[in-house]
Symmetry: C2
Subunit: 338 residues, 2 copies
Amino acid sequence: MVVTIADVARAAGVSPSTVSYVLSGKRSISEGTRRRVERSIRELGYHPNAGARALASSRTNVLALVAPLRADVNVPVVMQFVGGVVTRARAHDHDVLLLTEDEGPDGLRRVAGSALADAVIVMDVEAAEPRLPVLRSLPLPAVLIGVPDEPHGLACVDLDFTAAGAACVGHLAELGHRAIALVGPSPAVYARGTSYAGRFLRGFRAAVAQRAVRAAERPCPPSYDGLRACLDDVLGQGVTALVVHNEAVLGPLLPELARRGLRVPEDISVLAVCPADMAEFQAVPLSSVDIPSAELGGLAVELAMSAAPPARVRLLPPRLTSRASTAPPRTATPLPSS
Amino acid sequence: MVVTIADVARAAGVSPSTVSYVLSGKRSISEGTRRRVERSIRELGYHPNAGARALASSRTNVLALVAPLRADVNVPVVMQFVGGVVTRARAHDHDVLLLTEDEGPDGLRRVAGSALADAVIVMDVEAAEPRLPVLRSLPLPAVLIGVPDEPHGLACVDLDFTAAGAACVGHLAELGHRAIALVGPSPAVYARGTSYAGRFLRGFRAAVAQRAVRAAERPCPPSYDGLRACLDDVLGQGVTALVVHNEAVLGPLLPELARRGLRVPEDISVLAVCPADMAEFQAVPLSSVDIPSAELGGLAVELAMSAAPPARVRLLPPRLTSRASTAPPRTATPLPSS
DNA sequence: CTGAAAGCGCTTACAG
DNA sequence: CTGAAAGCGCTTACAG
């Protein structure tokens, strides 16, 4: 019913092993036979049986990806990341097996034990990541997205959120802002100990301490009321610029500022940390530090492809793009006259 | 290095075939041996080799899912759907192989030819779906999410968007609204011929024709300016209620209405078509027709699990939840005094 | 209730 | 440059 390597061999008048070698390129084949074999493959529509191949070669050509499919994550970022992983994996002739975090460490053991994949990529890593021991003991390469507190022995990639936090402060300080506010991720993100939130905050604080800048910080729940309360607090402190590290509130933010009679960037500057397309989609195109999700996904695949990924933390430098939402503050003095 | 069925058999003092039968339950095993085998499996941490199992049994325990990983789809809906698929698949002891639409029909042929999966689920089906012929010729069960114009011979599941369109009109008409507007999906969605957009519109129009209701229709691009233009047009026609079938503009919608001095629902009613949690997240919780993505994903898996899924269109009835954003219109006459 | 053995479709030393 | 054959780790008739 389905075409096998024996069918192709028969059609091409060679042995099955020759067909196999044509496919793998692991030994030189005479021009003529190679062509006949390739022709037969094409004509018969032959695809090697994945199970048989995996069994014989101990390689599955499958990459396992553990993704957070919950609602409380940055959904577009996750999607772009997954897209980057699948695209790059296909470029390496690999497929992607999608796992949920629900299975926890056992899921990783199962995938490794069943020889379902050649490598595993784990998203949404927490600072105190509970899957670290399993990951280290796995007989296959693992790549983490995010940086746990103790990454020893594991390959990690991520945006350099520490540098991103500092870059945000730097950009605003150089424009002349002296009082800024960080509208941070949801309290739930901090509570979970998600690694990027803490790193961004650290970079932000360090840069604030280094410059003559005053800064307020507020986590912001992903709701309209949450945003409103957050702005009430923060704007009450007379800031002239907002750093928004929370994509969920990005949509309503500009309309809400407008409702308050604040023009961007004339009355207040806004600097976002989010995917580039999201920044461009706003009423006023936002200056932003890009979260290069698809690129990170591709990079993770590249690392996962090597038999032994370098057990070190690889951080992508942040790129800040100045768009229409940031400008020098209206007054030299940061505090509005009351 | 890795535990095989022979290791388990040796440890339990039985033959490999007995271990296999304990695992599959395909023949009765004496209480005692079963317990010894299960114990050995547990102690050794045995997981059957997926490739070997697939080769011997012609079943992979893998489901292929073709998902749209582009930016121009409803990202949260896709994520929830994928989550529903993975969760339900795991409940059936299956894993999910994630494919992009980029590969097109060839990707489906490849997966079937390589025996990578036992069934395939295809999301984001268009009215004139180009993958239909391949799907029909595939030697494995296929389930479509969405309803192409010619679904003959294929299993389809989706929300009944036609009924949803009608339900929206019905809800507003019963509240007393006589002039309503449909803020539709992005022009790109219509251009692609995505099946749900047309069906919703059909149901909407049919219900409008049946009732003493006047209706405006506008596709709405996923940008702030697009929304603004759309509202300019539609509000200019004196409508008292909005049906919003476009999650991308849901975030900025309420703030923008507020900016225009329109209170919801006092001055204007808003009825959304979107996932329930998204409706609840707004400044005013929105009355809505739920898009039950996760449930649809689960249903698709159930169908895909059967050797021959019923080749018919399965439509889930829409559920309209009345929240705070819909109310009777202020005046009995639909047109505001000018 | 259980075991010995064939066979699934490949890959890869081993031989020539 | 090519082929014959062993073997990967399971499942499942076939036997008893």
